[in-house]
Subunit: 355 residues, 2 copies
Amino acid sequence: MSASAWGAAGLPACPISLRDYPRVTLAHGAGGRLSAELVERMFVATLGGESLRARHDGARVRVGGRGDVVITTDTYVVSPLRFPGGDIGTLAVYGTTNDLAMCGARPRALSLGLVLEEGLPMDTLWRQVLAIRAACELVGVEVVTGDTKVVERGKGDGMFVNTTGVGAPVDAPAPRPARVRPGDAIIVTGDLGRHGIAVLAAREQLMIETPIESDLATLVEPALALLEGGVDVRCLRDLTRGGLASALNELAASAGVRVELDEERVAVHPTVRGVCELLGFDPLYVANEGRFVAIVAPEHVDAALELLRRFPVTAEAVAVGRVLERGPAEVVGRSAYGTTRVVDMLSGAQLPRIC
Amino acid sequence: MSASAWGAAGLPACPISLRDYPRVTLAHGAGGRLSAELVERMFVATLGGESLRARHDGARVRVGGRGDVVITTDTYVVSPLRFPGGDIGTLAVYGTTNDLAMCGARPRALSLGLVLEEGLPMDTLWRQVLAIRAACELVGVEVVTGDTKVVERGKGDGMFVNTTGVGAPVDAPAPRPARVRPGDAIIVTGDLGRHGIAVLAAREQLMIETPIESDLATLVEPALALLEGGVDVRCLRDLTRGGLASALNELAASAGVRVELDEERVAVHPTVRGVCELLGFDPLYVANEGRFVAIVAPEHVDAALELLRRFPVTAEAVAVGRVLERGPAEVVGRSAYGTTRVVDMLSGAQLPRIC
């Protein structure tokens, strides 16, 4: 018997229209609507057990009789490998451990899977290994196992880094979309769009008067402080590909609610805003790597903000919106003038290879 | 403060000679001596805690107060994506769960990290997702979380698949190189070299009279049967990149022993042997994906073989050698005529992109 499913009789039809999408496009990995459709229709529907269907950044799994562990994975393909405020190695550690924290778990171990392109300068690899070590020390997590593959020149792009994280749930109800309910408050922990603009500037060598650094940072401590501080945290989500707009749309869809966003309360650095206006980007959709959204019970907003403001990385946290009624998922943006718009999901994204 | 280690004052010198190896070569990922040096000197020495230094296929980690879990990771870059007897999706599930079994753990959960090249036929992706599902069902493991990235055409090669596995240790001493001691018997579970030759034949469209299928198979049940069957299993290692020769050299180095291999007891299919002779390959170095080596206490050899022969995939298991005295690591091959040779580590490998 062949070990392969290929050519199996009565192969189920592809859940993505082969007429509309005969081939994978960059948009399928960009964190927008096409990404979400690919994940939902092909991966979750085909492979999904309960964990995958929970549509969170990671999964809670019972291992043996030993209680739950949380698992999350991310592959980093950011280009260039270095950008103001960070690099792929640091991103690979912070990004994955941030996801564990968003799932209510303290990071315990990381696996490291490298795909190197033949010809990558050895010194570049070495500097990224040092960056990974520095980031692990700061987060308090250890690389416990790894794998290295090398592909021929022109079959990769310098280096791709997969980190898979395993964490221990903290003693609090697991934050997840299913816990979101009407009336909940939506908190964002800082200004938006720095990572996307910093990577874009590095990639395109944009000349910017006041250079923007990525907001890349570890969010483990403030996120776990909320959970362990007794705040009724309904859900946490870090803002990466697709930015705040995509994160809120995903949460609205998973929870089956409408949400309202007071756009004037969302902070954006003047330089980020300027570059966005120049390029026709909307900062709500630009990637971040050091910001998260916390959806909390309305009566806990002040306590949550008070806790978050103790940490430099979340000192600028503000409540920017609220969960409205259950029903068709929608994100409504309200301007300073009271006008509203639907903040929809982009089909693709403004920037590929951002993380 | 930048989140990056780049440009840090007094950057430690690269542990790999930049004069000898200014750039990463295919050999650094081929599973031979250069791979081992990169892993040991750069990754283990820099990132390594205890788990990484244990030099096994996976790590045993305490998560919270919850007892141990085993974690292992592998990224699959095999080319072509399909080959006789398997495909990258099946390989990604069997390969990683086999590693968990080699660490004495029953697979519980997999993460799935995909790097897709823009332009990959959607139907190719779909068939691999089906292959992953079929393999997960056969092994009894679930994909619990995932991530998908898409890179521009020419920056990848169809699809790369990372699977990271989490497992629960079975109730037996953890098999590991440190338990290997002089007098132990070395068992190999079947004939060698099928996977490497099958992939090579598919890649080069070799015309072979009797086509060879990869030995790709799940090894979880026979491996755990040994551990749970009361056999004193010192160490287990599946034979992938670099074949039996590299696996024995790694084990000899980790355990600090000499080992002896009775070469005439190692089975090789006539077609595999023929292709190897034609191309100047040594079957001892050719990759397998459905074979493993079990090092067991000498008094348990017969029990081990008896157990293994109950499973079709390991029915041809034979004792092929023994662990000699402690001392400088070395693998000695003994021919049918009693002559001996040193079975050394290759610097690179005979075939790139094999797994």
